[in-house]
Subunit: 293 residues, 2 copies
């Protein structure tokens, strides 16, 4: 096997993961980023943006389930959901699994990601692309939240790249201020905050920023196999501080009625509740939360 | 930077992590395995056995805390502890942190691992090497448990390599039968069971084996940054089915009196309790446990 058969992730200059490539399926320079999709030997198909692994067919369930089911079931009655990014369609699919969701708007800046995901990763979005409750907009998420009416959404899910390159503007004061404005009174926003063992600043800085606009800022964790480096954190900013207090049994009841129970491979009601218990090395990055010890 | 500066983990043939090497400190072929210790750019010093990352200075706390504090605090009164493997001294150090521990016997088959760890990774074992409560034996763990008297230990911690190469014999019926025999009536054994997303068979097979000799077999999880691939599982086999039922508040009380509270960077009482809630993709590898959903 020649070294040409491997793709090295370039997220960190000094450490990272590599994949043995079966064949490359697409390599496109879009207006926003360098997009590569390849068939790996170990993880099915893999999408890479600017050298950073975004999704693999084999482990996408971990990230998608935790990024979607936790906020929607913590809210308990989310009718209108806004998704920023997530061009592969995986979050849209999980959001539309919830029976109660009436409308899911997905705003992805890079139409090429959507096009290539539909072509090469069709199972990740699945039927969601054609669900009449879903609306897929190729456009700027920043601009969308600026122009959206007040209290239009119950939950906002930000599935962006890291705050470098195209994703950077999603981690600003303006963005979070508008998120707060367009959310209903029990509304919340979640966003991926990277892997704090390697990227502690990402969680620390975005948490401090969200705390300016939301009374309850915290994070929860998920162990995503190909976001290597220990727990990834998902940032949490809510208007209602009680959303994280539901018991596992209450979450189970909501999941049952939403049609989610039994469909998951990572998420469970107990994992949902437990994911807010942060290791001290992560908790110390948050502005207000004690370490828990 | 030439490719010669990178060390690729060879645990999986088709996917894995790589480290940029600052300098190599030792490369020894012992009677049992190939041992490499290097200074990484990202993770401090790293020990590699037969091509598999065993420990890094920067993230060892996750694995050691979870492998040690969970069984000892779940037991609540472990006087005598047996450690198999763990030649770097990190588990020994965490065990001896517990005030109540009267005796910790560590049996490591490869004296070269101990010698090199003392020389190049001195902070991992720290003062534990000289603690009069500790006894370090260079010898065969299989043989040790065969010859040890009945009911000699309250807890056995198996910190071995994967069940390939030198570690393979630690995952046999004979070994677990002897573990059960030399444990006290509330005794338990924990062992590393790999990363089930990549190595599902390891958890499945050792769990089935342990279930022949222990009434309570389960597993708990830890997100160890350099055991890449999502949650690692730590196998649990106990004579007393109630050990996993202690509340976080009871565990907190025990940790306080053991001198552990406030010393940890990953472990907390809540994480201790929550670690037994397994994602369905992991739970399905266990012989008796339902998925939790």
């Amino acid at each position: 096997m020649t070294t040409d058969s491997w793709i090295n992730e370039t997220l960190y200059a000094e450490w990272g993961q590599r994949f043995l490539v079966k064949r490359e399926l697409a390599r496109v320079q879009s207006a926003f980023q360098d997009i590569v999709i390849f068939e790996s030997v170990s993880h099915g198909r893999v999408m890479v943006l600017d050298g950073v692994i975004q999704i693999t067919e084999r482990d996408e369930f971990v990230y998608q389930e935790m990024l979607t089911h936790v906020p929607l079931l913590a809210h308990g009655a989310a009718d209108n959901v806004l998704i920023i990014g997530a061009g592969d369609g995986g979050v849209l699919r999980r959001v539309l699994q919830h029976r109660g969701v009436k409308r899911a708007v997905m705003v992805e800046i890079d139409g090429e990601v959507v096009r290539l995901a539909k072509q090469f990763l069709p199972e990740i979005g699945g039927d969601a692309w054609n669900d009449p409750r879903g609306e897929v907009i190729v456009g700027d998420g920043i601009d969308y939240v600026k122009r959206a009416p007040d209290a239009a959404f119950d939950a906002i899910i930000v599935d962006s790249t890291d705050p470098i390159g195209v994703g950077e503007v999603l981690f600003t004061d303006d963005f979070y201020a508008n998120c707060a404005r367009i959310l209903t009174t029990r509304g919340l926003v979640v966003n991926q905050c990277g892997v704090p063992f390697m990227q502690a600043g990402e969680l620390r800085e975005t948490s401090a920023r969200r705390a300016k606009f939301f009374p309850h800022v915290t994070a929860y964790v998920a162990a995503v196999p190909t976001y290597v480096g220990g727990f990834m954190t998902l940032g949490w900013a809510a208007k209602d501080t009680s959303l994280t207090l539901a018991s596992a049994s209450e979450i189970r009841t909501r999941a049952q009625s939403a049609g989610i129970l039994g469909t998951t491979r990572y998420w469970t009601p107990e994992i949902h509740v437990g994911a807010f218990n942060l290791p001290p090395y992560i908790a110390q990055q948050l502005p207000t939360l004690a370490s828990g010890v």
